[in-house]
């Protein structure tokens, strides 16, 4: 059976169908999970997709973390379940305290909608397992609050524990230490600002996102076989 990926939909989420299509194109099976439910329907992995959950009111992710589904996501994270937050989903994971740090306004207050280079920096995360460190990928970004910040102690911890998953090869948003994605200590929870689901077909200019989402599906399949 194909790995089942649950894609959480908050009011204002708008990248859920891209994730569903990308997962399906890579041989997985994806289903939408409305934010009002309090369980995860038994999926093998969870993606918090991009968009504007709850209108991004107050701060992106600040209200989404109180959605009923997030209690189930927190339990799933604690149990070692694979969870990936993309863009707005990354912001939600930070606000929920499932990942350290915060996403701040881009440098120069610039809204960024372009394709950037990122480099895989760790194989420890569920999104990069089996992807060689140093692999460079071209993946789209599309955000205004994507500048990753954290205090120096947290940064030292992230570096020391090999939890910086991706770094920009060109840092347009001003993220500290060029960080594009981070993981929790166990590596099962990952957040990233770039959109791998928008780079899984030559038609849209890059298939590099398939490297990351494919690694996620492989990790899920491997965990189920074990």
């Amino acid at each position: 059976m194909a790995p089942r990926v649950g894609v959480v939909v908050f009011p204002g989420t708008n990248c859920e169908h891209d994730v569903v299509a990308a997962v399906a194109s890579l041989g997985g099976s994806a289903e939408l999970l409305w934010h009002g439910r309090d369980d995860l329907a038994g999926v093998d992995a969870v993606v918090l997709p991009g968009g504007f959950a709850h209108g991004d009111y107050l701060r992106p992710g600040a209200l989404a973390r109180f959605s009923p589904v997030m209690a189930a996501v927190e339990r799933f994270c604690a149990d070692g379940g694979p969870v990936v937050g993309i863009c707005n989903g990354f912001q939600v994971l930070c606000e929920a305290g499932l990942l350290p740090g915060a996403l701040q306004r881009n440098r120069h207050l610039r809204f960024l909608c372009t394709t950037v280079g990122v480099r895989v920096e760790s194989e420890r995360s569920v999104l990069t397992r089996g992807v060689a460190v140093g692999t460079e990928l071209r993946v789209p970004i599309n955000h205004f609050l994507g500048s990753y910040v954290c205090d120096p102690a947290t940064l030292a911890e992230l570096r020391g524990e090999d939890r910086v998953v991706l770094r920009y090869t060109e840092n347009l948003n001003g993220s500290v230490d060029d960080i594009a994605g981070v993981a929790n200590a166990a590596g099962n929870v990952v957040g990233l600002m770039p959109h791998p689901e928008r780079a899984v077909s030559d038609l849209v200019g890059s298939t590099d996102g398939a490297v990351l989402l494919g690694a996620l599906l492989d990790a899920v399949a491997g965990a189920r076989a074990a």
Partner: protein, 89 residues
């Protein structure tokens, strides 16, 4: 008793504030050359019921800390004012 609360949320010192910096850069063009250290923030107002001012302050600070500000990058200050509970109907 009823209290009015005002919570000011702003970025912690040392956290880049591109909004404040952009406003500051625009000021000389308006003749405000003497202005420096502009920091952007936001302010929230609400009313709450509490037994006394200390309790009202504690609850408002809790709300500010748990929701209105993101402690990773922001700090907040709370002002509390007792509202007149006049007997006039």
């Amino acid at each position: 008793m009823r209290f009015a609360a005002r919570v000011e949320v702003r970025l912690r010192p040392g956290i880049a504030d591109p909004e404040g910096a952009t406003i500051e850069r625009a000021l000389p063009a308006l003749g405000f050359d003497e202005v420096a250290d502009v920091r952007a923030g936001r302010s929230f107002r609400f009313e709450l019921e509490a037994a006394d001012e200390a309790t009202a302050r504690r609850r408002a600070e809790e709300l500010a800390h748990r929701l209105l500000a993101n402690p990773v990058i922001e700090e907040s200050t709370v002002e509390i004012e007792a509202l007149a509970t006049g007997g006039a109907g």
